[in-house]
Subunit: 239 residues, 2 copies
DNA sequence: CTCATTCACATCGTCGATAATATAACATCT
DNA sequence: AGATGTTATATTATCGACGATGTGAATGAG
C-alpha cells in the first residue's frame, strides 16, 4: 500500500503536464525515503491516487527508470530501486572524484561575490541545523553550501552530474548528520573548506571536499549496517 | 522528414516491448548521427513509420529525454538535442576524469586472462580498422579496447557512467579517426596504454588514457569547426 | 508428500478517439 | 504600415477500453 502523503504533494507542484508532476512527486518521495527500496508501484493504484489515467503514470515511471530510481521489468510491474553497499560506495567515490574537480575549479574561478555567497551558505547551514527543524533541513543546507562553491566553477554539465548523483544518493546519506557528535565534525570540515576558498587554495579545497564526501559515505554505510537489528526485532514482534 | 533507414532497423531489434525497441532504434540513430541535432521528431510520423500507435513512441521519447538525447518542451514536440563546443569539452573532461580512474583501478586489479582480453581487443582494433569497412567499425573496436581495461576495475557503476557518456558523445567524436594520420597516432597511443597494462603501471596507464581522451576531444572539436564552410557553400548553392 | 501442469486472475502494454495546447495566418484597429 | 486580438490548424497530452503477458493457486501424477 502506498502512503497517502505521496499524493497530497502532487497538487502543490501542479505545473506542467500530469506526467511531469507525477514524476517529480515520485522522485522526491523516493529521494526522501518516503518510499522504501523494493516498494511496488502499481500503475492502477498510482493513477487512482493522483486522479489521472495510467498513461501519464507510465511515462513518469519510464522516466524514473532512466534516471535510476525505479526498475520496471516488462510485464512485471515497477518497484523502487535500492542500492546495496557496493553501489553506495562506488557512487560515493565517483561523487568524490567529480566534486573534488568542481571544488578545485570553483576556487580557481571564484569571484568576490561568489565567495560571499559561499560564506552566506556556510552561515545559513550553521544557523539552520541549530534551529528547531534543523534535522529536516540539514540536507538541503549542506547541499547549498557545497553547490555555492561548485557553481563558481562555471561547469554546468559537471554541476548537473553532481546534482544527479546527490539526488540518487540522498536517501542513503540523509540523516548521517543526526549521529551524535557529527554536527560538530561537519561544521569543522565546512569551516576548513570555507577557509580554503578564502585562501584561494584550490588543491586544499579539493582534498578537503574529497575527504568530506568519503567520510560521510563511510559513516552512512556503517549506519546502514547497524539498525538491521531493529528491523529484525520489529519483524519478529509483528510476526 | 525522417530517414527511412531509421524504421528498418526496428524489426531487427524486435525484442521486448515496442517502446523499448523504438527507444533503442532512436538512440542508436541519434548516436550514429543519422538524425542531426535539431531534427524534429513528430510523434505521428514516428508512430506511422514504426507501425505502432503514438503511446509507445511517447514513452520512448520520455526515456530519451531523461537520457539527454532529445528535448521535448510540453506541447511543442520533441527534437534531437545537440551539444555545443562547451558541452563537448566539458563532458570530455568528465570522461577523462572517470576513465582515468577506471584505467588505474583496472590495471591494479587485472588478472592474467583479463590482460589477455585487452591484448585481443588491441589486435582486433588494429586488424579491424585496416579492413574494408574499418572506418565504420573503428568506433566500436576502439571502445571495446578501452572497455576491456575498465571491466577489470570491477566497478559496474563507474563503467555504466563511462558507457553512457561515451554513447552521448559518440556522434561528435565518431570519425575523428578518419583524419589523415590519426590512425597511426591512435595505434601508437593504444600500444602505449597496452604496454602500461602489461607493466602493471596503473598511474602511467591512467595518465595515458587521460591524454588519449582529451586529445581525441580536442581534435573532434577542431574538426567540428572546420567543415562549416562546406555547409555554407551547400546552403548558398541551394538558396 | 513433492513436483510438474493447467488454468484463472491480476497487471501490464497498446490502441483508437478525444480534449488541451501552441503555432500560424488572418483580419481589425490605430 | 505596425501592432494587436482572433480564429484556424496542427500537434501534443490524456482518456477509457482491449489484448498480451506473467504470477500464483489448484489439480493431478509420480
Amino acid at each position: 500500500m502506498l502512503p497517502s502523503t505521496l499524493f497530497s504533494r502532487a497538487a502543490a507542484i501542479g505545473h506542467g503536464t500530469a506526467a511531469e508532476t507525477i514524476c517529480n512527486a515520485l522522485r522526491s518521495a523516493i529521494s526522501e525515503n518516503m518510499l522504501p527500496a523494493g516498494q511496488a508501484l502499481p500503475q492502477a493504484e498510482l493513477a487512482n491516487g493522483f486522479g489521472v489515467s495510467i498513461i501519464p503514470v507510465r511515462e513518469a515511471l519510464k522516466r524514473l527508470e532512466a534516471e535510476g530510481f525505479v526498475t520496471s521489468p516488462p510485464n512485471r510491474g515497477a518497484m523502487v530501486l535500492g542500492m546495496n553497499e557496493a553501489d553506495i560506495e562506488e557512487y560515493s567515490r565517483i561523487r568524490a572524484l567529480l566534486e573534488e574537480q568542481a571544488a578545485a575549479d570553483g576556487v580557481r574561478n571564484m569571484t568576490r561575490v561568489q565567495l560571499a555567497q559561499v560564506e552566506d551558505a556556510y552561515e545559513a547551514f550553521v544557523e539552520g541545523v541549530a534551529a528547531a527543524d534543523g534535522q529536516r533541513r540539514s540536507g538541503a543546507l549542506n547541499r547549498a553550501f557545497h553547490n555555492a562553491i561548485y557553481v563558481a566553477a562555471g561547469r554546468p554539465r559537471l554541476f548537473e552530474m553532481i546534482d544527479d548523483l546527490h539526488t540518487r544518493l540522498d536517501r542513503y546519506i540523509r540523516g548521517h548528520l543526526v549521529i551524535e557528535g557529527r554536527k560538530e565534525v561537519t561544521d569543522r570540515e565546512h569551516k576548513a573548506i570555507l577557509d580554503a576558498c578564502r585562501a584561494r587554495d584550490a588543491d586544499l579545497c579539493a582534498r578537503l571536499t574529497r575527504e568530506h564526501i568519503l567520510e560521510a559515505a563511510a559513516i552512512s554505510i556503517e549506519v546502514m549496517r547497524r539498525p538491521k537489528k531493529k528491523a529484525d526485532r520489529a519483524r519478529s514482534i509483528r510476526g
